[in-house]
Structure formats: C-alpha cells, structure tokens
Amino acid sequence: MLRLFKKILATGVVTERVKAPKDDELEQLGIEIKRHIDRKFSGSIAIREVDAGSCNGCELEIHALNNPFYDIERFGIHFVASPRHADVLLVTGPVSRHMQTALLRTYEATPDPKWVIAAGDCAACGGEFGISYASCGAVSNVIPVDMVIPGCPPTPLALMKGLLGLMHR
C-alpha cells in the first residue's frame, strides 16, 4: 500500500491545460451549440460513444481522453453506458451495413435534444472504406450529424477541441 501511495505522490498531477479552439468555423459552431447546451443542460454533457464500423483506431484516441493528461471529465464531459443517459452520440467508423440498424436504434434511444458528432475521417466521409456492399460510408448517410471531427484517427487534442467547440466554455 505504501508503495502505491508513494507512486501516486511522486506522479503528482499531470493533467494539462487545453487551449480553446482557434478555428473560426468551429468557434462559430461551438457558440451556437453552447447556446443550446446552456439553455437545456446546465453546462454538462453525457456522451455515448458508438463504434459503427471503425478500425478501432478512433476508439484508442477517444479512450485517451480519459487518461490523466486530458482528463476530460473536468470539463463536464463524461462518457455514459447507455444512449438513454446521453446528450451526445460520438460515432466512429464508416457505418458498416451490419451496424446500420443498431446505429439507428441507438439514435432513436437517445432522448431529445441530442447531438451527433461524427469522429474520424471514416465517420466524416467514409475514409479508406467508402461506400460498398458492406459499408454505408459517412455517418451522415445514416443519421443526422451535427458536427464532424476529422483525422485518422483524430488526436485526443483534436477530439477535445471538437468537444470544447460543442461546449465552448
């Protein structure tokens, strides 16, 4: 136990400050979305992550948001287990046709008002996989998308800037 406490003390706090997004378009979008969030959510959002067909690269970077460097919960953003608890769906992957119904149902199970973020190049435009007999391509081909965070995969910082754009605090 002592070793454990010693390591905790020696590690200290590694959490970093993150600057607000500079991108004008993103900022504008963020301001608009923030107005909605403030009106309806008292400053905190719950995210349900949905892998709709990704290669799992995006999941690794979304996971990283919870590591102590980014510690995204401090911004009032937390990941939840059920779409019924969620304000935001963070969707990755080109939507595989085998996941199409599951994604639609997850979308329907998420209470209104809700937002959908398409994270990663595949979710944004189909990426390396595009549209085929097995893939619907972009998330917006299946459910309405409010925001896109590009990248293959988007870095935690890119994800954070996207989410901060949504919260804009």
Binding site: R3, H63, A64, H98, A102, Y133
Partner: protein, 529 residues
C-alpha cells in the same frame, strides 16, 4: 518444443503418400505450396492433426475465368509454414470440411462459405458467420461477378433470426449483450446463458463491423493496399501494414533495405509496448483498481507522444510502405528513444511491485478466466493468449524475418493459464520489446529507406507472416495484371483467439466477463474484415 532445423516435411509427405494422398509440390517464393485434390482435403487434415501440425489460416479465391475456386489452408510446425491448396469447380463448389478435425478452422470455413458460396461438407456448424443481412443469402461478395457496390437495401435489416444455442432448465436465464456495448469499445454480440452468477455458456456473434476489406482491396495499387491494410485493425496498424507489404514484396521479388527492416522492427515493437500498456491498465480497471489504469494510461500517452514527435503519427499509421518505410530515424531520435526506455523501466520498477503485492488484484485475477494448455493448443490460440497457456510459438523466433533474424528473441511463456498469467506475459513481452528496440537502434547503419518497386507479373502471389502484438499475422496477396491487387486476405490473430474467450469464461461469474474479455482483447475489426 524443438526449434531445430530438422524439417518434418519429408516425413510427413512420405506418410501422406502411404495414405494415398497425392501431393503436388510447388512453391511461392520460399514457401512450400502443396496441391492436392479436393476429395483428400479432410483426410489431409486428419493426417496433419496426427502429426501435430498447427492449423494457421484458411481462405479461398475465385479464378479470373470464374470456373474454378482455389481453397487454401496454411499449416505450421516447428516454424515451417506450408500452404495447402486445392481446386473445386464452379457450378457446385464443395469440398469436405477440415473443421471436423481442426476446431480452429470452423469460423474461417464459415466465412469462406458466406463470402464465396463454397460448401464445406460435414461442417460441424453450418450457420452463417460473417454474413448478416447486408447482402442476399445466395449471392457472394468475393465472387468476381459481385459488384463491390452490391445492391444494398436502403436500411439493412437486423440479423434477428440467428439460431443461437439455447439452454433450458430451472433457473437458467439468457443475457444478450451488444452489438452496441457499454464502453468505448468495438461492436459485437455476446449471448450468455447463466445460472445465478455462473456462466454456463457464451456464444459470440461477430461480423458487425464487416466493411468489405477483402473486396475493396481488389484493384488497388500496392500503396493503396498498404493504407487499407493499416486500417484493418487500428491498434495493429504496423502489424497488418507490415504483413501486407511483406506479402507484396515477396510477390514482386523485392528485398527491402536493412535500414528499413530495422525501422519496421522498431515500429512493431513500439506498437506492442503501447498496446500492452493500455491493456494492462484496462485489465486492472475492470476489477476496479483505478490506480493502475491511471499509471498505465499515463505511460501509454507519453509513449504515443514520442511516436507523434519522432515518427509523425501517434499510432504509427502509414509509416510502412511497399518496399520499405516512409520516413527516417535520426541519430538523436535513437538517443531519445533509449532515454525513454530507461525512464519506462524506472516507472515499471515503481508500479509493478505495487501491483504484484496487491491482494485485491490477486483475488480477482488469479485462477479467473482459465484456458487450459490443451484447449489453447486445440484452438490454435496465438500471442499472449496462447503464451499464457503454454503455447511456445513466436514467429519472430521460430520463423524469423528481417530484422529479427539478426538477433535472439526471447519468448516468455507461462502455464498458469489465467488472467494474471496473461497480464504478466504482457509485462514480460514489454521487457523483451524494449530490449529489441534498443538492439535495433544499435544496428542502424546508414542506408536506403526504400527499394524501387518492380511490377510483379500477373498472377504472382505472396504470403506475409509476421508477429503482430496480438500474435502471428498471415497475409495473402495475389497480383492482377498492371500492378493491382487480385486477392487480399489478412488473417488477424483474433480469428483464433476469439473462440478461446467462449471457453475461458465458462464457470466464471458474469461480472468477471469484462476482465476476461479484456485479458484476451480480440480485435473485432481485424476479425470482421
């Protein structure tokens, strides 16, 4: 297990001959290709299992003229891989199943049935596997006349009538999980039957992230294929990209420069370390031990930042290209990596004793998720899953390729066969990887980064075999005319590790499923293709 140079092939072929199986001996580059008639397909497998050959991978291919199908099965013993091939005629393509003797071949044959419409006669489990409802029952995406775009419905219906195994009895209940899971994780479906807390049966239903990788690979250039291969499973981007490039290089008859091989080795070992760090944290987190999760994710993040800084990508995507690598590593970068390794070793010396002495971890990880050595062998389990259950196999040591052929690779093996065993094997694998990275850096000499590409003649094929972080990856490539891909099949180790999960959770309690699952960490994307 013996790792001598003596080859079992001569003996085996003699026995096959005595059993009346006629084997035509051919070769793909350095690899033995044995061709037999399809009626001997199952008898060959029976002989192979008697001689302790490991079933490695299986896939099919339709010939350009569409009259014939080629069916391949790869076997291995003592680090020697052999490709077995047969041909069946189109109007009624069928051959006896090998899954009757090799359970490892079961899902692979089901995949081939779904994708090609080949009928494996007497298959023990003839249900669909990869196919849900994205394409009609009697049309097959990997046939040449099936358009890559398909003719999909506006909304693909759910696969609701899949005949799961049922359990009846007082107090037996069923728990369906997924495809959308409760965490930040890939989608798949698990169907549990339980009594009280105890798992009686688990059935996996995968295929949800099938995105047509094999089909959309057709017609790609080598560069385009490398990019696609790097996205078969994002956590194995180096592994799959390397295996695909190795297969293409073999088909084209290209040797890569030694500097490129060393850099590829460094990338692969960095990928191994990053993933093991993440998983070791996640295993602890799944039993509620947040301290370890935070420490390991912190170390992983630092490691990925070095990747970004020195290699230009956190997960190392697209660093490997056909013929070599896409970037160079400076001398200063080598020094920085070595400093980082020394730092990581110090961190480990502080964190791991704290875990080793922790009674709550001991309580949850020891004896849980037990996978016996016999079962691990029968299922052909690979990588850390196999090695934690006594399976002493590692391509880097047993079938070495550049740069691993230049030094000795130590392969840690444990026999406790539980979650703790899989945890500590990972730790030992990190130590081996750190050592290898240092050795590769020391071996770096000035030189080319990429060999010139030579267009392979039509029909040339290649097999890439490398040790990814999850275990052995087998990638098959055949070229068309004009430098494009005719057939691409990447076999992720998850194909062989997923079935092990169904077995190792039995008699465990349902709440221990997440940690059992994490200790295996199969790739959904790498499996569904």
């Amino acid at each position: 297990m013996s790792h001598s140079n003596s080859s079992w092939k001569t003996d085996f072929l003699k026995q096959a001959n005595e059993a009346g199986i006629s084997v035509e001996q051919l070769a793909i580059g350095p690899l033995s290709l044995w061709q037999i008639v399809s009626s001997d397909w199952q008898r060959f497998a029976e002989l192979a299992v008697q001689h302790n050959l490991r079933w490695v991978a299986g896939w099919a291919e339709q010939e350009q003229e569409q009259e014939w199908f080629l069916i391949n099965a790869c076997f291995e013993k003592q680090g020697r891989h052999v490709l077995l091939r047969t041909r069946v005629h189109n109007p009624k393509p069928e051959l006896p199943s090998q899954a009757t003797v090799y359970p490892a071949a079961s899902r692979s044959e089901r995949h081939t049935q779904d994708m090609f419409g080949l009928n494996f006669v007497n298959h023990p489990d003839n249900r669909p596997w990869t196919r849900h409802k994205a394409w009609p029952k009697n049309s097959y995406p990997l046939r040449k006349d099936f358009p890559a775009q398909g003719e999909p419905e506006a909304v693909t219906p759910p696969d609701r009538d899949y005949p799961f195994v049922k359990a009846y009895g007082a107090g037996v209940y069923e728990i369906p999980v997924g495809p959308v899971h409760a965490g930040i994780i890939e989608p798949g479906h698990f169907r549990f039957q339980a009594v009280g807390e105890t798992i009686l049966n688990l059935e996996e239903r995968l295929g949800y992230v099938h995105k047509g990788v094999e089909k959309i690979a057709e017609g790609r250039t080598p560069e385009q294929l490398a990019r696609l291969a790097g996205r078969i499973s994002g956590d194995t981007t180096v592994g799959h990209c390397w295996a695909a490039c190795m297969a293409m290089e073999q088909a084209a008859g290209i040797d890569i420069p030694s500097r490129a091989a060393l850099i590829r080795g460094i990338l692969a070992e960095r990928e191994r370390v990053a993933n093991h760090l993440g998983d070791m944290g996640a295993i602890c987190n799944d039993v509620g031990f947040a301290f370890a999760q935070m420490q390991f994710t912190r170390l992983r993040e630092l490691w990925l930042r070095t990747n970004a800084q020195l290699f230009g990508h956190r997960l190392l995507m697209d660093r490997i290209v056909p013929g070599g690598v896409a970037f160079d590593l400076s001398e200063q970068a080598g020094i920085a990596i070595k400093r980082e390794i020394a730092h990581l070793r110090v961190e480990f010396s502080e964190i791991l004793p704290a875990l080793d002495l922790n009674s709550s971890l001991e309580d949850r990880l020891y004896t849980a998720g037990f996978l016996s050595e016999d079962l691990a062998a029968a299922l052909g389990t690979l990588g850390y899953v196999g090695r934690a259950s006594g399976q002493d196999f590692d391509v880097r040591r047993d079938a070495p390729y550049a740069p691993y052929d230049r030094l000795a690779v130590k392969v840690p093996v444990e026999t406790q066969s539980d979650i703790a065993s899989r945890f500590w094997v990972r730790h030992k694998e990190i130590n081996v990887a750190l050592k290898l990275i240092g050795q590769f850096i020391d071996l770096l000499a000035p030189g080319e980064l990429r060999s010139a590409w030579q267009t392979p003649t039509e029909g040339r094929e290649g097999l890439g075999i490398i040790e990814g972080w999850r275990g052995e990856i087998i990638t098959y490539v055949r070229f068309d005319a004009g430098n494009t891909i005719a057939r691409f099949y990447p076999r992720d180790p998850s194909w062989l590790n997923w079935p092990a999960l169904e077995k190792l959770v039995l008699d465990n309690i349902v709440p221990d499923f997440p940690v059992c699952n994490k200790s295996v960490n199969g790739s959904y994307s790498g499996h569904d293709l």
